[in-house]
């Protein structure tokens, strides 16, 4: 490892611009003639639109135009789609209801977009939006998935009778039933996974620019995957052919999944730019973000876990109802199926597993992937069940887990996944040691002396990242391939640009991707620039989500570097009259191994571009592209331990310590990896203790539509974290990387709830464990 290469704790190249206010986010963009958009949104959870009267609004000061869904449809703009086909167990395809970018017949959730107002200023657009008269006939609404399945529930889409989108299963039902029937012990539990709002700090924004002369569109947008946005807007929404649509995702202020999807606003602003002849910018406010950004989680599950007399798990049966909201968002169908049920084996050898998943329409914001996407739901279910089982069986939670750990690899689970490497004991032992698990009894006694209830809880998680290979996900219904691309462009003076289809919105790719190049070529970090986020600059790519940028995106860079190095060696061999198999690249020089002959990197680059003296038949230039399609998912895993103190007078939980022991495979930059874990933990702890999206059951109004009502984790809600790594390299990619972006959010909620339920002596507690709920749970016990 060099000082700037793989494994080095390098501070980030991109920091200076963010620290000095020079970051460039979508809302910072300004172009000549630009006007501002405001969306008219449904105030009802479910209503029929009888008419829209925009005459008064159009006459207001500064208003350019007001456009509605009828006009949009007349111009041939298509409906939004879900890009992952799931079939029900009866073989029928999922029932996808129409999602119009601007609703003109039925609105299906509070916030559903109905019209766009374009005006000289955002304030004028907002004023005019209030003057648009929409005549609604209110319809009955339903916000909870279980209620939506009941007979007589309001019907949301004609395409989906009974609001059922699909009824899907995985695993061997009869073998699992058999295991449960013959078990020495069966643990049964109902699990609620609370609905969350991702809340990246930068609200969504988009700037649509139509160029009349070129018949060309430019879309600045807050996207985690600009190429996917372009593909979907071209192929499905008929905005423009791909060569007439440039999508730019500049600096993006966090995503956590919510900026994967193409939302109505991008499509409508592009279309409105053509209709009005002016560039149109829209920036969400925070309330709109709560009302329209895809939410996460919202599962209700019934679980049965069967044990033999020796406390080995012999079967797991899961019945889940997942709320997908009012429309099927882009990857919504994959989250409660292939990103969830395929992880139900956890870290354990379970011979039979069966999961049934029903997904349901409700009059709520569409639900899709949020940090972890399905894997937090699987982990929470499994680790709450394991803890409950340990308590019922009267054995220690660590012993029950150890007894059931998978210990030899590769391991084929009964639910598709083939785990390639791991050492679950190592993380469990490291976490227990770091938490001083053995000293807990004394700490609990000491706390009791102060009138506090102390508890400790663990969670052993596994996740699947990379989401690949493409052929495999294609066979499971994915509408896209999940490879990644890279171009390594060596300039004539030897500096390097890496163009990646990954997208950084906080992950630090400008640093870590450059570290890889520095490691390989021995050139300084400063001579390497990472280019991403612009479909005009970067070859097709799939973007960043699912902790895939390191494992998949950087592997593509490795492949491109391999090609660049091979060509550079040929040139160097030619210049030094040596054989290219004898050339090594070290410290920015190409050397003939075992001799003192060297040629500096920049001279090879220069030779490639002057082309005065290249090997016979070689093309000039030094630039290579590669596409990398993984051979398997990657499987990060680890063990988290939370220790809490509950105040019996108030029910308030204080986190005394939080220990995370993770196996991420090889690490490019520990500083950045630790930061990813910290952030994930904060979101997981937020889910466990603070956060919940709530709707009024009767009216379908969103009750948590601001930071006054939705409890985001603040600095004084969280402790400093205690991290360690027990890495086993991933065998399926060249860098041995597993991915670290989501682990914190996946592993932490059950550790917290296991700790709190341990403290209060009542296992019946749902997330978020607010002081009131904890206090009530304590009263119920005593």
């Amino acid at each position: 490892m060099g000082v700037e290469g793989i494994g080095a704790r390098v501070t980030r190249k991109e920091d200076k611009r963010f620290l000095t206010g020079k970051g460039r986010y979508t809302d910072d963009m300004s172009v000549p003639g630009m006007k501002y958009a405001y969306f008219v949104r449904s105030p009802y959870a479910h209503a029929r639109i009888r008419g829209i009267d925009a005459a008064a609004a159009k006459a207001m000061p500064g208003v350019i135009d007001v456009l509605d869904g009828r006009q949009l449809q007349a111009d041939g703009i298509g409906n939004l789609i879900c890009g992952w086909m799931i079939h029900s167990k009866d073989g029928s395809p999922m029932k996808m209801g129409a999602w119009r970018p601007l609703a003109h017949e039925i609105v299906r959730y509070v916030g559903d977009a109905v019209a766009i107002v374009v005006a000289d200023s955002s304030a004028e657009a907002r004023d005019a939006a209030e003057a648009v008269v929409v005549d609604y006939e209110e319809l009955p609404a339903v916000t909870e998935a279980v209620s939506a399945l009941e007979a007589g529930a309001p019907q949301i889409h004609p395409e989906a009778p009974g609001n059922l989108i699909f009824d899907w299963e995985i695993g061997d039902g009869s073998a699992t039933d058999q295991a449960i029937a013959t078990a020495a012990h069966v643990t049964e539990i109902e699990i609620h996974n609370n609905r969350l709002s991702p809340n990246p700090m930068e609200p969504r924004a988009t700037l649509g620019i139509y160029d009349t002369a070129e018949d060309h569109y430019t879309c600045y947008t807050t996207s985690q995957n600009p190429h996917v946005a372009r593909l979907v807007m071209s192929a499905f929404y008929n905005v423009a052919p791909e060569n007439k649509l440039r999508v730019i995702a500049p600096d993006v202020g966090g995503g956590f999944g919510s900026k994967i999807y193409i939302y109505p606003e991008e499509i409508v602003c592009l279309w409105a730019s053509k209709k009005t002849g002016v560039p149109v910018k829209w920036t969400s406010d925070r309330t709109e973000a709560f009302l329209t950004d895809a939410h996460g989680r919202d599962h209700v599950s019934k679980v049965k876990m069967a044990f033999d007399a020796d406390h080995r798990i012999i079967g797991l049966k899961v019945d889940t109802i997942a709320n997908l909201g009012a429309y099927m968002s882009l990857f919504s169908s994959a989250v409660p199926t292939y990103l969830y049920a395929t992880l139900l084996s956890g870290q354990y050898a379970i011979p039979s597993i069966h999961a049934n998943v029903r997904t349901v329409y409700t009059n709520t914001v569409p639900v899709d992937a949020y940090r972890g996407a399905g894997r937090p739901e699987a982990t929470y279910l499994l680790e709450r069940t394991m803890e409950t089982a340990a308590r019922e069986l009267g054995i220690s939670p660590a012993e029950l887990r150890r007894k059931n750990f998978i210990r030899s690899f590769p391991y084929q689970t009964p639910v598709i996944m083939n785990y390639d490497a791991g050492d679950y004991d190592a993380s469990l032992s490291a976490a227990m040691q770091a938490a001083d698990w053995d000293g807990f009894a004394a700490r609990r006694a000491e706390a009791e002396g102060r009138g506090k209830r102390r508890g400790i809880g663990m969670s052993c998680y596994i996740e699947a990242c990379g989401i690949a290979p493409s052929a495999a996900v294609g066979s499971l219904g994915a509408g896209v391939g999940l490879w990644e691309s890279a171009e390594v462009r060596v300039n004539a003076v030897g500096t390097i640009e890496v163009l990646t289809g990954s997208h950084s919105h906080g992950q630090g790719h400008e640093t870590t991707f450059a570290q890889l190049v520095a490691e390989r070529l021995g050139v300084p970090l400063d001579s390497v620039n990472i280019v991403h986020g612009d479909t005009d600059k970067v070859q097709m790519g799939m973007g960043t989500y699912g902790s895939r940028s390191g494992a998949v995106g950087m592997s593509a860079v490795v492949k491109a570097l391999d090609k660049v190095e091979a060509k550079a060696k040929k040139i160097a061999a030619h210049l030094m009259e040596a054989d290219d198999s004898d050339i090594v690249i070290e410290n920015g020089e190409l050397k003939v191994a075992g001799t003192d002959k060297t040629v500096p990197w920049f001279q090879v680059a220069l030779a490639a571009y002057t082309a005065h003296n290249l090997p016979s038949g070689m093309e000039p230039g030094l630039k290579e592209t590669a596409f990398y399609d993984p051979a398997n998912f990657t499987f990060p895993a680890g063990c988290y331990i939370a220790e809490v103190e509950v105040d019996p007078e108030t029910g308030k939980t204080e986190i005394i310590q939080f220990v995370a022991a993770d196996d991420f495979g090889n690490i490019i930059n520990p500083l950045i990896v630790e930061g990813q874990v910290h952030g994930g933990l904060a979101q997981g702890i937020g889910q466990a203790l603070l956060e919940e999206v709530r709707y009024d059951r009767e009216s379908g109004q969103l009750l948590t539509a601001s930071y006054m009502d939705y409890a985001m984790p603040r600095a004084d809600d969280l402790p400093s974290f205690n991290l360690s790594h027990q890495n086993t390299p991933c065998p399926s990619n060249p860098l041995g990387i597993k991915g670290c972006g989501e682990a914190g959010a996946i592993g932490s909620p059950p550790a917290l709830i296991n700790a709190i339920t341990d403290a209060i002596g009542n296992n019946n507690l749902t997330m978020p464990a607010t002081p009131m709920k904890v206090w009530q749970a304590m009263r119920a016990t005593h």
């Binding site: 501070t11 920091d15 620290l19 000095t20 966090g254 309330t287 919105h505 969280l718």
Partner: protein, 162 residues
């Protein structure tokens, strides 16, 4: 419409704006200083924190006209061009930022915090003082570290100067 004249980052500036224009929008749209961000609409997130006459304020809850005649410092103005303020340097050193969106507000709050507590900050105080700044990326762990490190460094600097 109102005409507003104030000092921003040491320069006298004036501009016409609606009476209802917030200081943050005046800074971003009239002055083109886009380092100050808007992350919410209820004065909770702190992405818009600037200093007004030496005190940290949320520029989303002040009208531009209220700032007339005052001296405002934004994230663009706390260090000389091309240099980093010790707080900015500490955020970089300790990886106290990821997506960068809350960062300008965090830095401005941290500078104000250090100005008020100079050399006496501890973790609990920093966490308490950050209550009005929300970060979704870092879990605050490295932000707290950075603020404490900057506080110690600036205190050492003051001591050396005495």
């Amino acid at each position: 419409m109102a005409k507003v004249t104030l000092t921003v980052n040491g320069r006298t500036v004036s501009g016409e704006c609606d009476d209802r224009t917030l200081l943050v929008h005046f800074i971003r749209e009239k002055l083109g200083l886009t380092g100050t961000h808007v992350g919410c609409d209820t004065t909770q997130c702190g992405a818009c924190v600037v200093h007004m006459d030496g005190k940290s304020v949320k520029s989303c809850s002040i009208l531009a006209v209220q700032a007339a005649g005052s001296s405002v410092t934004t994230i663009e103005g706390i260090a000389a061009q091309g240099e980093l303020h010790p707080v900015q340097a500490a955020f970089k050193e300790h990886h106290g930022l990821q997506c960068g969106f809350c960062t300008p507000g965090m830095v401005m709050t941290a500078v104000d915090m250090i100005n008020r507590h100079g050399g006496k900050l501890d973790e609990a105080t920093v966490r308490h003082e950050l209550e009005g700044n929300i970060c979704r990326c870092t879990g605050y762990h490295n932000i707290v570290k950075a603020v404490l490190a900057a506080d110690a460094e600036m205190a050492a600097g003051r001591q050396a100067a005495e």
